[in-house]
Symmetry: D3
Subunit: 309 residues, 6 copies
Amino acid sequence: MPIKDFKDGQAIKQAFLVNALSKGLTASGQPYLTITLQDKTGQIEGKFWDVKPEIESLIEVGSFLLLDGDVSAYRQMLQVRINSVQRLNPDSIRLEEFTMSAPVPLKQLEEELASTIKKIKDPDYALLTKTLIDQHYDAFITYPAAVRNHHEYTSGLLYHTLSMIKVAESLMPLYPKLNTALIYAAILLHDLGKTVEFTGAVIPKYSTEGKLIGHLQFMASKIYALGETLKIDREKVMLLQHIVLAHHGKPEFGSAVTPLTKEAMFVHMVDDFDAKMTMVDKALEPTEPGQFTNRIFALDDRSFYKAKK
Amino acid sequence: MPIKDFKDGQAIKQAFLVNALSKGLTASGQPYLTITLQDKTGQIEGKFWDVKPEIESLIEVGSFLLLDGDVSAYRQMLQVRINSVQRLNPDSIRLEEFTMSAPVPLKQLEEELASTIKKIKDPDYALLTKTLIDQHYDAFITYPAAVRNHHEYTSGLLYHTLSMIKVAESLMPLYPKLNTALIYAAILLHDLGKTVEFTGAVIPKYSTEGKLIGHLQFMASKIYALGETLKIDREKVMLLQHIVLAHHGKPEFGSAVTPLTKEAMFVHMVDDFDAKMTMVDKALEPTEPGQFTNRIFALDDRSFYKAKK
Amino acid sequence: MPIKDFKDGQAIKQAFLVNALSKGLTASGQPYLTITLQDKTGQIEGKFWDVKPEIESLIEVGSFLLLDGDVSAYRQMLQVRINSVQRLNPDSIRLEEFTMSAPVPLKQLEEELASTIKKIKDPDYALLTKTLIDQHYDAFITYPAAVRNHHEYTSGLLYHTLSMIKVAESLMPLYPKLNTALIYAAILLHDLGKTVEFTGAVIPKYSTEGKLIGHLQFMASKIYALGETLKIDREKVMLLQHIVLAHHGKPEFGSAVTPLTKEAMFVHMVDDFDAKMTMVDKALEPTEPGQFTNRIFALDDRSFYKAKK
Amino acid sequence: MPIKDFKDGQAIKQAFLVNALSKGLTASGQPYLTITLQDKTGQIEGKFWDVKPEIESLIEVGSFLLLDGDVSAYRQMLQVRINSVQRLNPDSIRLEEFTMSAPVPLKQLEEELASTIKKIKDPDYALLTKTLIDQHYDAFITYPAAVRNHHEYTSGLLYHTLSMIKVAESLMPLYPKLNTALIYAAILLHDLGKTVEFTGAVIPKYSTEGKLIGHLQFMASKIYALGETLKIDREKVMLLQHIVLAHHGKPEFGSAVTPLTKEAMFVHMVDDFDAKMTMVDKALEPTEPGQFTNRIFALDDRSFYKAKK
Amino acid sequence: MPIKDFKDGQAIKQAFLVNALSKGLTASGQPYLTITLQDKTGQIEGKFWDVKPEIESLIEVGSFLLLDGDVSAYRQMLQVRINSVQRLNPDSIRLEEFTMSAPVPLKQLEEELASTIKKIKDPDYALLTKTLIDQHYDAFITYPAAVRNHHEYTSGLLYHTLSMIKVAESLMPLYPKLNTALIYAAILLHDLGKTVEFTGAVIPKYSTEGKLIGHLQFMASKIYALGETLKIDREKVMLLQHIVLAHHGKPEFGSAVTPLTKEAMFVHMVDDFDAKMTMVDKALEPTEPGQFTNRIFALDDRSFYKAKK
Amino acid sequence: MPIKDFKDGQAIKQAFLVNALSKGLTASGQPYLTITLQDKTGQIEGKFWDVKPEIESLIEVGSFLLLDGDVSAYRQMLQVRINSVQRLNPDSIRLEEFTMSAPVPLKQLEEELASTIKKIKDPDYALLTKTLIDQHYDAFITYPAAVRNHHEYTSGLLYHTLSMIKVAESLMPLYPKLNTALIYAAILLHDLGKTVEFTGAVIPKYSTEGKLIGHLQFMASKIYALGETLKIDREKVMLLQHIVLAHHGKPEFGSAVTPLTKEAMFVHMVDDFDAKMTMVDKALEPTEPGQFTNRIFALDDRSFYKAKK
C-alpha cells in the first residue's frame, strides 16, 4: 500500500527506502531509532523502540528495508511503530518504486530536452551543449535539483532546467536583441555541473569536488577544455563560460563573477524567478486558505500567506 | 534644427529647455555657466562664458531660453558656446517639443491602459483601480518613471507600467494558480503614488510628501481610504495594499514589508526583471561591440559587456 | 493560593490559564505534556505524565483548567506534577485573576490617558487623536505591548505609551522649539496600530493584517483616511503620519521611512530609550548582585551585570 | 566689523584667523588661494588671486592675518577679494576675538562644572573625577567637542558635557535605581580623553595618541592608574572604566566594549540623544520653513524637513 | 587506567575531574546526569541514571570524583555507566593528573620564555615586559589559551605565545626594518590580560572584568600605569599599548583600534596565522584521509578536507 | 637626466613614457593637459598649456614623447611646464629605460624561478607547473602585479610570486605535515592567470576575459584542461585547482570558493601576509618619522604611523 494511503490502526508489511536516520536514548539508556521511510508517494516517520545492536547495524541511509509494523496517529500525524526489519538486496529493487519523480514522465522530459537542443541555431553552441550533455546524460536526466530538500525528486535537475527554458521562451520575444542560441546553451548547461557536485541520484550529498571546486567552476572548466579541443572561437566560449560562472548573481550566493552581459543577467533572473515561484508554490500547496505556510529557508525564512479565496 | 542633428561649426538660434545648471569660476574670478540644454531629440551641454549677473538670474532649471550660439566639437563631443539668451514665456511653448517622449505615442499608451483596466475581472479590484487612476489621470499619463535619470522621458511612468503588464502576461500562463485580477490591479497601481512623490512631469524632484511618506505608503493609504468608502471586503483591500507596500522587495530597497503572498512575489520580480533589462538595454545601445557600457549606478555600478557579435 | 506563594510539597487544586504548551515523548512512546500555567501573580511549569488522548484534546493555549496536582522542587525551581485536569467555561472566569497587569491600576492609567489627551493644544491633532483612540479604546487599554515576551502583561500597551509620555515631558523643556502638540499626538498614536496587529489582549499572536500591512502602515492609513474625512490641513496630517511611519528609526528595524523631522527623531529616541531601560530593568530584577542577567534578545542578546553593591 | 555684519561692496581692513586653506591654479598656471577667514561671529571665504610665493608662505592654517580687501556678493553668498595680507604675531592677539564660543559664558560653564562635581555623593568617584579633571582642566574648559566640524566652538567639549548632565538629570528621577554618583562621574569623564586626542583648542587635529590609542582607551588607562594609586575598590573603578569604554555603544562606532551595565546603557543613550538633537537643531536653524536642511553626515547623510508651521 | 586506554566491557574505579555537566529527565520524570569526565589523557562521557538528589548535589563542574562504573561502547563511542560516586578532597589531588597539558613540558616552556625575554634588546621594553609577566607569572604559565574549547590544555596560553614567537622569528629576517624589541615585548604581553579575563587555569570562565573591560583594554591600562611609574618615554609605551589594543585586527573581532603601525600589523597577522593553522591542524588530526573535519566554529564554521594522499 | 634627479629651474629636452593623461579647461575655454610623465626612475607631472588640437591628438597613454620643457617647484613638488612635444616611434625605444623595474634584476628573478620549479618534488605537479608557466613565460616575467597602482613596476608579478615563496619557505618548517610540492606549484601558478587578465606589461588595463572570467577561474580552467590532457590523477589536479580558486580567501574579495584544505589556507595567508607587509612598507618609505603615511586604499583606507625612532 502506498504511504499516501496509510491509515491509523493499520498493520503493514512492505518495503521502504531509508531516507534519514537519527538515534535517541530512552530513559533506561537504551537506544531507539527514528527512521524516515520513503516510497514513491511520500515519506513517513518510523519509530523503532528497543532496537538490538545487531539489527541497528543493518539500517543505513540509502538502504532498503522490508518492515513489519503498525501505523498510528500521533498528534494529527501518522507514524509507524516498527516491530521488525529485514534488509533487502538492492538488486531486487525497482528504484522508481521508492523515489518521488518529477510531475512529468521522464520520457517526455527527454523529448523536450532533445527538441530544445535542436533550437540552438548557432552550430558551435549546439555542438558544445550536445557534447557536454552526452558526457553526463544518465546523471543529467535522473539527478535531483538539490540535496538540501528531503522532498526533492528524481529528474528534478532536468525538470528545473526545462522549466527555466519555458520561462525564458515566454520572455525572449519581449527583448528581441537577445542572443537566443547563447541563452539556450547556457540554460541547458548552467546546472549540469551538479552531476559532479552531487554524489548520486538518490539521497545525494555534496561530493568532495562539489565542495572544493563548485559546480559553476567545474562546468566552466569543462566548457573551456572542450572549446579548446573543438577550436571554437574564444569569444563565444567566454560568453558561455561567463553565464555559467555568473548565474547565481552575486558572490554571496556563490557566484564566481557577477553577470556582465545582458544574456547573463537574463539567465540569472530567469533562474531566480522560476526557483522562487516554485518554492512558494510548493509551500502553499498543503496550506489551508487564510493560513501561512511553513517557513521557507531559501526565501529568508519567510512564511507566505494563502488568501482566503 | 533638432539637437540630434547638430554639427561642428554651426551657428544656431533657437529655443531650449534648461534641464540642469552648474556654475564655475574662471581664473580671474568671473562666473561662467554650464547649462544642459534639451529638446525632444536629446540634450547638449552649453557653456556661457562671461555671463552677466542680470542675465544669469534669468536662467533657471525648467525655464525656456531662446539662445544664440555656436556648436563646436570638443574632445569628440559637441557643445554649444552661448553668446546670448532670452527667456521665453512658457505659455508660448509647446512642451512636447522640448521633452523626450516614450517610444510609443501617448494615444496608444492610453488605449493600452484602457484595455488593460478592462482585463481586471474582479469588479472590486476593477472599481478601485479605475477610481484611483482617474483621480491622478493627467499625472499618470505624463510623469516620468524616475527623477534621478537625466534621460527620463515624458509618460515614462505609464510606459514602464504597461511594460510590466506585458512581462506579467507572458508569465501568467506558466503559473496558473495566480489571482490575475489582483495582479493587474496591483501592477497598474504599484507606482501611481509617484504622481504625488514627484513634483511634476518635467524635470521633477522629490516632493516633501514623497520624502516623508513615500509613494508606497501614500498609495497604500489611498487604497485603504477608498476601500473603506466603497465598503470593499477587507481581505481584498489588504491583499492589494500588501503588494503595493511590498513591491520593492526588501526594506533596504525601500519596501515597507517583504512580499508574503505569491502575487506580491510575482509583481516584485516582474518589476525587478523589467527594470533591470531596460537599464542594461539603454546602457548597451550607445556602446560599441567589444566594449563595456558606462557604469550603471542602480546595478551595483557595474559596466556591461557588448559582445563582438 | 497564588502561584508566587507555592511551596515544595504542597498539594493544590485550583484554576489556571494555559499560556504555552509543548509535547514530549517518553521512552515507551507515550506522550506527556509540559504546560506553562499562569495566574495573575506569575507562571509555573506543569508536567502531565501519562496523559490520555481524550484529556489531551481538552488542553489548549488560552484555555482555563481546574487542576489537581503536587508542587515539587526540581533543580532549584518549583514545578507542578499534574494528576488531573478539568476544562472550565471561560464565562465563569474573571480574566483579571489570570493575567498579570501593569504595575499601576487600569483606572489610573485611563485617567492619565484622558489628561494627556487634554494636553494636545492643537485642536486638529486633538481631534484626530481622540477619534482614533475612541475607535480602538477597549483594545488600547487592555492589549499588551508585545507578543514575544511570555511575561507581557495586560494593559502593557497603554502603560508603555504613558511611560513614553513621561520621558518626553522630562525632555521637552530642554528642547524648547519642539511642536509639543504633534509629539503628544504622535506618542499616543504611535503603537495604536498594535490593536489590529495583535489578535487579542490575552496570549496574542500576530494577525494576518499585522504581517501583511504592519502596525506602522496600518495606523498611517487610518490617519490619512480620517484626515481626509475631517478635511484637516494636509501638512499637519503628513507630519503625524511621518512620525508613526518613522518611529522604529531604521528600515532594518521595521521603519517604513527614516525620521526626517526633529519631532520624528525625538519620538523615535524616546521610544528607544524607554524600551531599552525597561528591558534592562526587568532583566536585572531577579539577578543577584555581582552576577549577570539572562541574555536579552532585543539587546543583541547581551547579558547585563548587576553591580555588587 | 564682525564678519556677521559684512555687506556687499564694503572695503575692509582687519584681522582674521585662518581656519582652512586650499590652493587652485588659474588658466595661466598661476596659483591662487581660497582661505576660510574666521572671527568670533562666523566665517567667510576669501579669494587671493595672483598671490606671490613669498606672501603665500606666510599664510598657514591657524595663523592670524591683517587683511586688506573688498566684500562682494557672489551667488547669494558674500566673499572677500583679498588685496594684501600681513601676518600678525599671535602674542598680540586675544584669541577669544577669533573663535566662536559656546552659547553660554565660560565663567558660567565653569560654575556649573564645579557645582556638578559637588553632586557626586560617593567620595571615591568624587575624588577620581576631581583629580582627573584638574589634571586636564585648561584643555577641558577650552577644547571643542569635535574636530570634523568647521563651526565647532571653543569650550564645546565642556558645553556638551554639561548639556548631557542636564538630559541625565531630567531622566534620572524616572529610573530611581540608577547609581547617580557613578553616572555623574562617568558623564564628566566620558570625553575628557579628547583633551589628549585633539591637538589643541583652536582648529584641532587628531593627535598621534588619539589615533593609536583612542580617547576611550586613554581615559580608561588614566582611571585605572589613578584607581591603583588611590587604592580605590576595584569594582568601583571597573564600573567607571566600563562606562567610558562603552559610551559609543557599538564597536562599529568606536566603542571598545558594548554597554553591559544599566548605567553604561543610560550614559550611552543620553550621549546619543543629546548629540543627535543638537545636530538636527543646528541644521534646522538656517533652514527656511517648508524646506529641507543640508545633509547631516553623522545622521546617515539625511536632510531634515522644517515644517511650514 | 588512563581514559585513553579504556575498553568496552571494563569495570573501573578511579578518580576524575568533572569538566561539564548536564541534566536530563527520564520518561518517569526522574533526573539523570550526563557528566564529562576528564583525566590528563582525555575525556569520556558518563551517564548517571537514577541519581539521588543528595548525591546529585555533590557533583559540580570542577569537582573531583572517585567513581565506580562500567565502560561500554555506544554507537562507536565508549561511555561510562556510573554506579556510584564519592567526592574527593581537592587537597588530596595532584592537579596535573587530571588536566591535559601542552605538548611540551612546562619546564621547557618556562626556559623558552626566559630566553625569549632576554632577546628584547631595548631595556625599557625588557623592563616593562619582565615586570608585567612577573606580576602574573603563575597564571601566565598555567592558564589555557581559550575558554570555549573543551580540549584546551593547561599552559595553553604560554604555549600559544611561544608558538607565535617562533612564527615571528621565522619572518622577521624577511622584513628587516621591523623594531624587533617592540615585537618581542608585544607578543609576550599581547594575551597576558587573559590571566585576568579568565577565572582560573582549570575549566575557566570569563570573569566580570573580562567582560566589562576586556583583556586588550586591561593590559593596555597596566602598561600605561607601569610606564608612568617607571617614567618610560611616552612614545615607546604608546607603541606597545597600540599593538596590544590592535592585535585582534578589526573592531568586529574585538580590536579596540585597528593596527596602524607596521609592527602592529605584523603581530596581528602572526597571531592570526598561527591560530588558524593550529585550529586546522587540530581538526585534521582525527579525520580520515578523503574525509572532511568537523565544522570549525572560529573558521566560519567550515569543514576542511584531508587529502587522500 | 633621470626624473629622480630633476631640480627646480632646469630646462629639459628628453623622452618620456605617458603614464596617465587628463584634460582641463582654462577660464577662456581653451583646453590644457595634465600628463604623468615616466622614466625608469620615477614619475613627474607635466602641464601643457595652450595645447593645439593637432598636437593634443598625438598624446596618448602609452605613447613615447620627446619633450621640451622647464622644471619648476610648485607647492613643494616639482612639475614640468611643457613647451613642445614630438611623438617617438616605439621601435626606436628601449622599453626598460621608461619603466620601473623590480628591485632585483630580471636575470636573477628568472634564476630563482627556475630553481624554485626544481623544488617541486612531485613529478605531476612539476610537469603541470612547468608546462603552464612555459605557455605564458614572456608575460609572466614582465607583467606587473596589479593594474590599479601607478607605481607598479615591470616584473612585479614574478617578484611578488617569488616573495611569497620566501615567506612560505620560512614557515613550512613550523608546520611539518604540509604537502610542500602542492604549495610550491600553487604559489607559482596562483596569479599566473593575470597574464590573461591584464592587457599588457606596460600600463595595463583589465582585459575582457579578465572581467568576464577572472584570473582565478581562468587558471583553474587551464589546470583542468591540462590535467585531462596529461591524464593526471583527478585528486591531485583538484587540490591544485582548489588553491588557485580559493587564494583570495573570501567571496567578497573575489575568491570563487573558501579555502578548505590546510594548504589552501596556508597559501591564502602567505599571500595576504606578504601583500600587506609590502603595501605598508612602500607607504612608509617616503614618510617622515613621527608622521602618518598617505591612506592605503587596499588596507581599508588607513594611514600608518612611522615611529619617531
